[in-house]
């Protein structure tokens, strides 16, 4: 038998009808995650045709994107301020109820960002196909799943048929050899990877991250890496499941238990790519050379080491990006002014991210004039952080400690930066206006964001290490 990659094994196991020259494959979807912003029009399409949801049990809903993160609005003490956002929340509540879909509603202790709750609840499992009307669905690939974002029309297709029409993407191996230096995290690594591939280097491909540095990552770190695959244009990113994956899943509510667990692990152990399996493309990085990274431009490929400088020159797009950011070519990044710090998003809002930020901020205060939002990825993350006293570290420093949600990653839920403000953000996109019209985003990891919060400047977090 021809050696197969992880991706090929999962793809073939989900082909209801293989592709031909004339027709795409009919691909079965194991888990469909839904949220309030990209689904109302899909449910309306089903309703207009009188179609039921084919497999409600394979669909899981949450409220995160336009849902506010301040407790009063979220928990109903005051109405959600934005009427249209309130209507989206109400629409998903209504649609989930009508179609018998499980929804983690506003007051649910398990609610959170869609790409945080799937893994946390053990619903994300190796070998699955997972889709969601959200491009960061690639996050779930950390578990050895084929997970990718889809549009609202396709959300309707999955609701109605549990399937998608798909052409098989190409494969790209990203090997990260060696070990990351101390003080360099998964976010730094993936920013370096996106910087290397460019924002369209992965287009048409599914990335498999491989190598010693990837194997050494925790599940939360692997999620951070896979999350940003789309920022290199890739359809999906994935990492072969191993003991780290299985230990993360063991005992989670959605994971198999008892004999089913043993059988599942046996099955999952067959997923990693066969020896000799080949990829359409291969890129290799040296982990030891990765430094704490930060973005300086208006796409996630425009990144540099914090200790480094903005490139001396570039094309028109480069100059346009720098004008938007208020930066000059060749400027040093360390020492740049920071107005606002955001710790959160499906990229970096898990417990280990909050721990990394708190370690930098402990016994320190926000720099004068800096505002900081810390937004846990889920209500479970929030409680776990509070149990460790992390909320006290942030609150005593002067930061805001919020309920879970997408918050300032996407600027459609009331959490926004003002025009011209510099935001060091642990999120995934630094596009113009992403965090509010005219706002300027610098993407970085949680330790770097925390260092910026206490110094008011772009700072290498290793300088603040105790």
């Amino acid at each position: 038998m021809t050696p197969r990659t992880l991706f090929e094994k999962i793809w073939q196991a989900h082909e209801v009808v293989p592709e031909t020259d004339d027709t795409p494959a009919v691909l079965y979807v194991d888990l469909h995650l839904v949220h309030e912003v990209t689904t109302p029009q899909a449910f309306a399409a089903l309703q207009a045709r009188g179609l039921p949801v084919r497999r409600p049990g394979r669909t899981l809903g949450t409220l995160d994107h336009s849902t506010p993160t301040d407790a009063a609005q979220l928990l109903g003490r005051i109405p959600i301020r934005d009427e249209s956002a309130a209507a989206q929340v109400a629409a998903l509540e209504r649609n989930a109820h009508a179609h018998n879909i499980e929804l983690l509603g506003l007051g649910d202790a398990r609610r959170g960002i869609v790409h945080v709750i799937g893994p946390e609840l053990g619903r994300t499992q190796p070998g699955m196909t997972i889709v969601c009307g959200d491009s960061h669905t690639s996050t779930h690939g950390a578990f050895g799943t084929l997970a990718f974002g889809i549009g609202t029309t396709e959300v309707g297709h999955v609701l109605a048929t549990q399937c998608l029409l798909q052409r098989k993407p190409r494969s790209l191996a990203v090997f990260v050899e060696g070990r990351l230096p101390a003080g360099v995290g998964a976010k730094d690594l993936v920013l370096a990877i996106v910087g290397r591939l460019g924002v369209d280097g992965g287009t048409g491909h599914v990335i498999e991250y491989r190598g010693e540095a990837i194997r050494a990552l925790s599940m939360e770190e692997r999620m951070t890496v896979c999350n940003m695959s789309i920022e290199a244009g890739a359809r999906a990113g994935m990492i072969a499941p191993d003991g780290v994956t299985f230990e993360y899943l063991r005992g989670r509510p959605g994971a198999p238990s008892g004999e089913d667990w043993e059988r599942a692990v046996e099955r999952w152990q067959t997923l990693p790519g066969d020896a000799g399996a080949t990829f359409d493309g291969v890129v290799t990085l040296d982990a030891a050379a990765v430094e704490p990274m930060i973005s300086y431009g208006t796409n996630p490929g425009m990144v540099a080491a914090i200790g480094g400088s903005i490139p001396e020159s570039g094309d028109d797009a480069f100059m346009k990006a720098l004008r938007y950011m208020g930066f000059e070519p060749g400027e040093r990044l360390a020492g740049k002014r920071v107005d606002l710090v955001f710790i959160g998003s499906c990229t970096n809002s898990r417990l280990s991210d909050l721990q990394a930020a708190a370690a930098v901020m402990k016994n320190r205060k926000l720099a004068r004039g800096v505002r900081m939002l810390v937004v846990p990825g889920s209500q479970q993350v929030k409680r776990a952080a509070e149990a460790e006293g992390l909320d006290r570290v942030f609150l005593e420093a002067g930061a805001e400690w919020r309920e879970s949600g997408c918050s300032m990653c996407i600027g459609m839920n009331g959490d926004v930066a003002a025009a011209g403000q510099y935001v060091v953000s642990t999120s995934n996109r630094n596009f113009e206006g992403r965090q509010g019209a005219g706002a300027r985003t610098l993407l970085a990891g949680p330790a770097t964001a925390a260092a910026a919060a206490v110094t008011g400047r772009v700072t290498d977090p290793r300088e603040l290490a105790a």
């Binding site: 990209t38 029009q41 994107h65 956002a85 549009g151 029309t153 396709e154 029409l165 996109r429």
Partner: protein
């Protein structure tokens, strides 16, 4: 999709409007703050909102879509990697709602390309020399022929462009994609049975 039918598309002839930028992301095409709606129409007014309008809502002079000559153009010409970023189908809806029937670019992001094809918006990827010509000739009268999969303009030799064969067939014949998927139900049933569902 609501009706179960789709309008057939064979060709588009229009003057172009040129947005000479690579990596145009879907946050620029339609900023997130316009996404808090349960409808799929009415997005045209917000297309490229922050590039088209200033903070007071006044049209920004110099932005291509605001120029008099751009009125009524149904073909948008842009750079490489058009539609990168967020999966929001609202980007395709906004371009359609504004009046565009095709986007010509050096390349397209995967999810945007899918979304465009599902909404009768043709993503036309052309090689660099043709894109350079189109960028240098804003307002050119182009004919995009989906049957022949070529783009033509007076002064530009016919440029072939790739289209996924099933999407082309579907668009040419007005085939509804969900209807096609539903017609595979027997195979989906059989697949689920083999997995013990």
């Amino acid at each position: 999709m609501e009706t179960g039918r789709a309008a057939a598309i064979r060709s588009i002839q229009s003057r172009t409007v040129v947005l000479a930028a690579d990596d145009v992301d879907t946050d620029q095409i339609i900023p997130a703050r316009f996404l808090t709606t349960t409808r799929r129409d009415g997005f045209g007014d917000a297309l490229f909102a922050d590039w088209r309008f200033d903070g007071e809502g006044r049209p920004r002079p110099g932005f291509a879509l605001n120029e008099q000559a751009s009125r009524g153009a149904a073909v948008l010409v842009a750079g490489r990697n058009f539609g990168c970023g967020s999966s929001r189908e609202h980007a395709a809806w906004a371009l359609r709602d504004y009046g565009f029937g095709a986007v010509v670019a050096g390349s397209f992001a995967d999810i945007f390309r899918n979304n465009a094809l599902k909404n009768g918006l043709l993503p036309v990827a052309v090689p660099a020399p043709a894109l350079a010509w189109l960028t240098a000739h804003p307002g050119a009268l182009v004919t995009i022929d989906l049957e022949a999969t070529t783009l033509e303009a007076p002064g530009l030799p016919a440029v072939p462009f790739p289209v996924e064969p099933f999407a082309r067939y579907r668009l040419l014949n007005g085939i509804d994609e969900l209807g096609y998927l539903l017609s595979q139900s027997a195979d989906i049933d059989a697949f689920e049975r083999t997995r013990g569902e």
